[in-house]
Chain length 216, copies 2
């Protein structure tokens, strides 16, 4: 499903890298779990890293990760949520044509606090499942006091765009003879060997064994 960009989400630089397709955007959102949320206080932008979850066309973030934001949240505040997957360094012959391969999504919207306790717990579950599927059911779930101490924000995924660069460097034709190595150095997120908590006696469970962010 393709969606028309608004003047605010239309990609200005390198428009050939723009993606406005909702399914493609969702694939990026589902591979990552860290976003950078931007909001404004007294004219000053703040950008805070935080995890997120997705349920259909709604993004959820923990309010607790952005208390500066929450202090300014009454009927909702304008936010920008940006998600970036870095896929590689692109080494061209010229410095000017060096680049990166990446997939990024920018969502503009209004973040509102979730009051409804049923939506709140569903949002927290979506957040947990987004980061680590099956973990929710294998953990001690939130009690009433913890739910009260946690704020969850709801951001509709309505106004968005993505930007994607893939493939080899593109040099100016005369530069192809320049004597240097050119190509791509891939980058991705590696999952390391688990470090068991010293007070933990349990076996490392199956659902964690093959944890990866890369979709099958």
């Amino acid at each position: 499903m393709s969606t028309n960009p608004t003047p605010r989400t239309r990609v200005v630089r390198e428009p050939d890298r723009a993606v406005y397709d909702r399914d493609a955007v969702n694939r990026i959102l589902d591979e990552a779990f860290l976003c950078h949320a931007g909001f404004v206080v007294d004219g000053q932008p703040f950008v805070i890293p935080t995890s997120y979850g997705r349920n259909g066309n709604v993004l959820y973030i923990h309010g607790s990760a952005a208390s500066r934001m929450l202090r300014n949240l009454d009927k909702g505040i304008p936010v920008c949520v940006t998600v970036t997957l870095l896929d590689g360094l692109v080494l061209a012959r010229s410095i000017f044509n060096h680049s990166m391969n990446y997939r990024s999504v920018v969502i503009l919207g209004t973040a509102t606090l979730i009051d409804d306790p049923v939506e709140k717990i569903a949002a927290l579950r979506a957040l947990s499942e987004h980061i680590l599927p099956q973990r929710w059911d294998d953990s001690r779930q939130p009690n009433e006091k913890e739910l009260k101490a946690t704020s969850v924000l709801r951001i509709p995924i309505d106004e968005f765009s993505a930007k994607v660069r893939v493939g080899p460097p593109i040099d100016d034709e005369p530069d192809y003879s320049f004597p240097t190595w050119a190509g791509v150095i891939p980058l991705d997120t590696r999952v390391g060997a688990p470090i068991r908590d010293e007070r933990c006696q349990r076996e490392f469970p199956e659902y964690l064994r093959n944890y990866t962010r890369t979709p099958k």
Copy 2:
């Protein structure tokens, strides 16, 4: 060297994770090379991923990566530059105490366009060296036309804070008996096997062979 936080950079949530030491902040800035730059247009925050370089107490970013920002840049605009290194998922017994290990830096400041051609080329070189040391000298360097087409922004690293979480999960005492695996799943950036451009004849050079973001 430690620096006092301003009311704007004082860490509000989990203040025990706050770091205001400039050397510690510089180590985070030097390990990463991707930042998320936030700025405001008509009250709406925008957050754009882009690479950066550092020279002493100055951060440089490509203006071309944020043309929406540049269109609004006359005498400088307020920005927030956030750099995040994600080090692991922290699996506690309770959902509530799940966390992440991370190191992040938030810099507030005013971004100004570099006019001076000498500073501009020094900034571009700092950017290049920051991402990939020795690459600048092994590339076809920018010509006058390319320099004109590139905008570089200067952001002083004066008002900043960092937030760092390390170590195992911290559970509420009664939860330690909850029957689940607990510990840390480390995450880091992996450098993959280089993909040579099909029109490249050169050997893969020594300075790229051991490329890593992890400091020795």
